[in-house]
Symmetry: C2
Subunit: 477 residues, 2 copies
């Protein structure tokens, strides 16, 4: 008999049929009720055992975490909380889980404890819900772009260029770790390395995506990116996934339109497809926040917060306007901000971004036209000569979630900016080629996938929304 | 006016309307016919210019590769080869492309030449077709798994374990390249490295996927994997993308069923959605093969070959049967094989795999139950004590395209195999945990994405089916 998923079973379509189901025991109550879960859904199916008909040796193995194959009849449930249950005819124990040593017991575990058990934590309700939502978000991203005429493009992971300067990089090498070959001047001879040059892990696929956009029109990356920064915070990972769409013939306005539409689509997708998991995560968050002082609690419950994004127009504000608002704001005047805003040109911190979204505008905000000095070299210079066509999307509770720009398509302007920043032209000869041959207005943005999952699930630490987090001093599993 | 994609325009729905379109010039004939392409489709749109109405300075910039914005009226075409064309009212030159220096001219370029211009080669018909098919295949993969109850799971890229032994690895480090910190015994002190231990780029996400399958039921990875092997062949990349589904409660038969169904779905998807690109690639391949001796040409044209997969049942044959067939085969007896098959236990080479598929069975073949000695430690040992529940799927022209197995779920057997292969238990403590707590039958397989794209597009070199290939001595762009 083919086994069937618990998600299917719970729809009740196989009522009164004999079915076989496989899964893991979540709890076993009163020697009678097995709550079985197979990961297909948050919900368990209740399996009702007539213990007098079963060997004690079998029932003793029915502990939390044990893997079972259960055969029986699907019937309407007598108890509360479920519509259907299984009257068990046969139990086969695939593998038991000794309660003396199995760490995932049916009690509250701290997220920190579970982080040490990253190979097992997905067996909990919280992490299975997070990872199902993560998977749905990833699918929604592919679906959105496919529906909108984008091509998925794989940017290289190992890169020979470190010109973007988005952050510290990891070196990728096969040279002898202790005695690398040296050149005559005593420096390491990377010509002897695997790729014949020094190589690093990518910090962004954008530059390569531009090359593809200038041929296929609309493309996007969705791949891992890396930062070798010693940031031990709840918002930083050394290895994370990023989505980077890049569109030929899009100016900054079209870029903002796309980013807003895209974010609303993917969050709308999980509101539609992940209702149960989101409700569970919403309750989890409410419980967690009960332990916090009122001032630190979210103003909105999880689902309300997601709808706040999908149902509101994003307010578009120039950086210059935002600085004026912040300079005159009450927390700035009362010196409540950690970083006070006193002049145009200041880089905004998370506290400022959150003030704008949560207190001032009370809706998602897109800031644009930033000072050139605080933004990357490839962003298009405005006619004023001091701002660039950059945009950041700011979300409640999280601050910046998207950063994008119209790209500098003019060869001479780009070269000047590279010279000013000491970026050697020979490093980016191919990127300059894109401006020499058939250059055009184009734009794109980057979205850190884990930041999005963090926002969508209401989890507090980015290490809890990626299966096996990589952070300083931590590459376990 | 909103610009519209050429793909949309060619459907003719905007006939007699004024439209604006952006794209790059492919050719400009007779000072009158601009063939414009925007990457949305293989096809160009013909833009008809009344040259007397345009400034010569504008028309002189209309060269192959120039980016234009064209406004005009969509009308039924007078010429052959297209249904609609644009009567041009206005031309705006986004960026020109000096024919003296722009390398992608409308003539035949060798694939080797274009490989050196990987940032521009996607502006050709061949590479844009390949990359559109690649994108469609990637989407089909996500669609298939989503439709079948799988969760997408991101395996870590940087890994602290090198236990699988699937191949040579790249080291990931932030230590000083010349003077790394040393321990008292003179070896490098990786405790000082970013992750506090030696780390490498992953060769496979399978082991981590098993951890997720044993909680979520059915999962898959789709991410980059790496081999630091000095293989300069048309089939090997140092960086490539791999798909690895992993399913709890699946035995080898269910695994084979899934793999066959999956491959038929994704190839069926491109037959349905990429017809024009595939036809173009089929013609390209036929042209290329005209230069080869008859014996080296494909027996089937591209689309026929794809249908050969989608329309045939895959023949399932044990390794033992296959060895018998090969031993008695004419090329073995006549010593035509480079590696002669004389005894059970031999590892099969591509020539043998292709013989089985192309000459003997004349259909896709799944070989299973391989000798334990030539397969990985995690494959489930059969009762005979000498074969394991491994399976490889063999395709015409390419040999192995999928490798999979039922996994060894028995703790004691797994430990014995690890001991025999000197794999330290402390390296894989968490992998062993999966067998200690709720272990169960489970299976999975791996599919090299670029091998699939190679097969689907009929290209001859794997460097031509990934945007920016990484191979020994080559990490340009």
């Amino acid at each position: 008999m083919r086994s069937v998923s618990i998600k299917e079973l719970l729809t009740g379509k196989q009522l009164l049929q004999e079915i076989t189901v496989n899964g893991w025991v979540r709890t076993f109550r009163s020697n009678r009720f097995i709550a079985l879960n197979d990961g297909s859904t948050l919900h368990n199916i209740q399996c009702v055992v007539d213990f007098e008909k079963f060997d004690d040796a079998i029932l003793k193995q029915v502990n939390t975490g044990a893997a079972l194959k259960i055969t029986g009849t699907l019937v309407e449930s007598q108890g509360k909380g479920q519509n259907v249950e299984i009257q068990v005819r046969d139990i086969f124990v695939h593998g038991d889980a000794n309660p003396e040593v199995y760490p995932i017991q049916p009690k509250k575990h701290s997220l920190e404890f579970l982080r040490e058990k990253a190979h097992l934590r997905v067996r909990t309700n919280t992490f299975s819900a997070v990872m199902r939502v993560r998977s749905a978000l990833a699918f929604a991203i592919h679906q959105y772009f496919r529906d909108n005429g984008f091509y998925y493009f794989h940017a290289p992971i190992i890169t020979g260029s470190d010109a973007e300067g988005a952050g510290e990089m990891f070196r990728v090498t096969t040279l002898d770790e202790k005695n690398p070959p040296l050149k005559e001047d005593g420096t390491v001879d990377f010509k002897e390395d695997f790729f014949g040059k020094e190589t690093n892990l990518t910090v962004s696929g954008q530059l390569e995506a531009e090359a593809y956009a200038m041929a296929l029109g609309k493309v996007y990356t969705f791949g891992p990116t890396f930062r070798a920064e010693n940031s031990n915070t709840s918002r930083h990972l050394a290895e994370f996934w990023m989505i980077e769409p890049e569109m030929a013939f899009y100016d900054l306005d079209a870029n903002m339109d796309l980013a807003e539409d895209f974010i609303k689509y993917v969050l709308g997708y999980i509101l539609e497809h992940c209702e149960e998991d989101l409700k569970f995560l919403e309750t989890r968050l409410l419980d967690e926040e009960k332990t916090k002082p009122q001032s630190e609690r979210s103003e909105m419950a999880l689902i309300e917060k997601l709808k706040f994004i999908t149902d509101n127009n994003f307010k578009r504000v120039t950086y210059t306007e935002a600085i004026e608002i912040l300079r005159n704001s009450s927390p700035n005047k009362k010196k409540k901000f950690q970083y006070l805003i006193d002049a145009w040109g200041a880089d905004l911190q998370s506290e400022h971004e959150r003030y704008l979204v949560e207190k001032h505008f009370k809706c998602p905000v897109i800031l644009f036209d930033y000072p050139a000095k605080i933004k990357a070299f490839y962003m298009r210079l405005n006619e004023d000569g001091k701002t660039v066509r950059a945009m950041d999307i700011l979300f409640p509770g999280i601050g910046e979630i998207v950063g994008g720009s119209q790209r500098e398509e003019r060869l001479d302007v780009l070269k000047q900016k590279m010279t000013a920043l000491d970026i050697p032209e020979e490093e980016l000869w191919w990127y300059l080629d894109l401006r020499k041959f058939g250059t055009a207005v184009h734009s794109g943005f980057g979205l850190g996938f884990e930041r999005l999952v963090l926002f969508a699930t209401g989890m507090g630490n980015i290490r809890d929304v990626i299966p096996f987090p990589r952070t300083p001093q931590n590459a376990e599993f």
